[in-house]
């Protein structure tokens, strides 16, 4: 039995979580302030992967980034980047698919902080960025951790979307969830069981760790 699918899965989940943290923090902050129609539309679009069948999202990504035409062709010719049947394609799909799991908890936590916290910081001459880094971010730490763990765990469990855009290429796109499916197809239940058990253990330990951490931390810092 190969361990490569497990490493590939962990690498994918790690990169996705890191990228979503970088993208998610400013976007969640922006979404947490005010409610224009434009923001509602953006938020609805970001939330779509929660309700959309993963295969649908994967199908559209496959069409959009197909190297034969359109955007995919242009990316290949201009930057020599191919998203279909490649690891970077898995990363792109995972970032889109797991985005609501990163944005949701961060945005809610930011919205729950009283407006007067930011105002107090502004009155001291601090910029919006300084306020975000020194006042807002430290006070949403438990939600930030929850968002990161949810994103990581959700990426570990991806199947439909990664299968559609990445296929099943050993050492490139064959992540653990696909390896489980592949093993079952080949009637190799023992291997499927090992992959499943590893995935189950990792996610269970992570979720329990978050529950334990949040038992002491999740209460609002203002309580």
């Amino acid at each position: 039995m190969e361990l490569n699918p497990i490493w590939l899965t962990l690498k994918l989940a790690g990169i996705t979580t890191l990228l979503l943290l970088i993208i998610g923090l400013p976007v969640a902050w922006w979404l947490s302030k005010g409610r224009s129609f434009f923001k509602i539309m953006i938020e609805a679009t970001i939330t779509m992967p929660l309700v959309l069948p993963p295969s649908v999202l994967g199908f559209y990504l496959l069409i959009a980034f197909s190297p034969q035409h359109g955007l995919g062709k242009w990316l290949l010719q201009t930057f020599n980047i191919q998203f279909v049947f490649s690891f970077q394609g898995l990363v792109l799909a995972s970032v889109i698919y797991s985005m609501p799991f990163m944005l949701g908890p961060i945005k809610s936590a930011l919205q729950q902080l009283p407006l007067s916290l930011s105002q107090a910081s502004y009155s001291l001459g601090k910029t919006k960025w300084q306020t975000f880094i020194h006042v807002l971010l430290p006070n949403i730490k438990p939600s930030l951790l929850t968002a990161m763990v949810l994103t990581f765990a959700h990426t570990l469990g991806e199947f439909g979307v990664v299968l559609m855009i990445g296929g099943n290429i050993p050492n490139v796109t064959r992540v653990a969830s696909i390896a489980v499916y592949d093993s079952v197809e080949q009637m190799d239940y023992a291997t499927a069981n090992v992959y499943s058990l590893i995935l189950f253990t990792i996610t269970f330990v992570m979720v329990v760790a978050v529950f334990i951490f949040n038992k002491y931390q999740l209460k609002s810092p203002l309580e």
């Binding site: 007067s116 916290l117 105002q119 107090a120 910081s121 502004y122 009155s123 001291l124 001459g125 810092p221």
Partner: protein, 206 residues
């Protein structure tokens, strides 16, 4: 002189009402602001600080325009640097007493002086959740003073203090106000408590 002439719609339980203020506050004066609940006292202070924008009006502080809706002038709160004491204190839950003041200023001697005025020297490493209501309120006042503002806006700043602490603190604050040449606007429900230090009063009608 601080010249304020503003108009702001307020949402009220029984529909909408309009906050209209046209008033002059001499520089260096200490003004009590009173009025019934819901009249817009807090909103008025927040408009001066730059947290809320009125529909119409202007604010001129010592000859400098902070706001003029006609010419679309708006100086952001960061540039106004008006000290603000919030009714809910708005302390930063992640910071200790000392970190609150260090976030506002690098002047360590000034920080020590403020801690002594607020009788918080022994609580420097405490976060707000481990302070009493009165201590939290004093920290909110000290934080606003830390930036040595020219204008100080205080929203019911003494409500959580016992009478003894209140009178001692007000006495010490008066010295600081004079030292810094501060113009102070204080929203209060208890007009007597400020009789010794205020020299101007102003009533906001709903």
């Amino acid at each position: 002189m601080i010249i304020v002439d503003i108009e702001k719609k307020l949402k009220a339980y029984h529909g909408q009402q309009v906050l209209k203020v046209a008033e002059k506050f001499p520089l260096g004066s200490i003004t009590q602001i009173s009025g019934p609940s819901g009249a817009g006292k807090t909103t008025f202070l927040k408009i001066i600080a730059g947290f809320i924008q009125p529909e119409k009006g202007s604010i001129v502080v010592d000859g400098v325009s902070w706001l003029d809706t006609a010419s679309k002038t708006f100086v952001p709160p960061q540039k106004r640097m008006a000290g603000f004491v919030f009714q809910d204190y708005a302390l930063f839950p992640n910071m200790t007493v000392k970190q609150h003041l260090e976030y506002a200023t690098n002047d360590t001697a000034w920080i020590e002086k403020l801690l002594s005025i607020g009788k918080l020297e022994t609580f420097v490493k405490h976060k707000p959740e481990y302070l009493s209501g009165g201590q939290q309120q004093r920290l909110a006042i000290l934080r606003a003073l830390a930036i040595k503002p020219k204008l100080l806006l205080m929203d019911e700043p003494f409500s959580a203090l016992d009478p003894e602490m209140k009178s001692a603190l007000i006495g010490e604050l008066k010295v600081i106000f004079d030292e810094l040449g501060l113009t102070v606007l204080i929203v209060t429900h208890n007009r007597q408590e400020l009789d010794n230090i205020s020299n101007h009063s102003f009533f906001i009608n709903p």
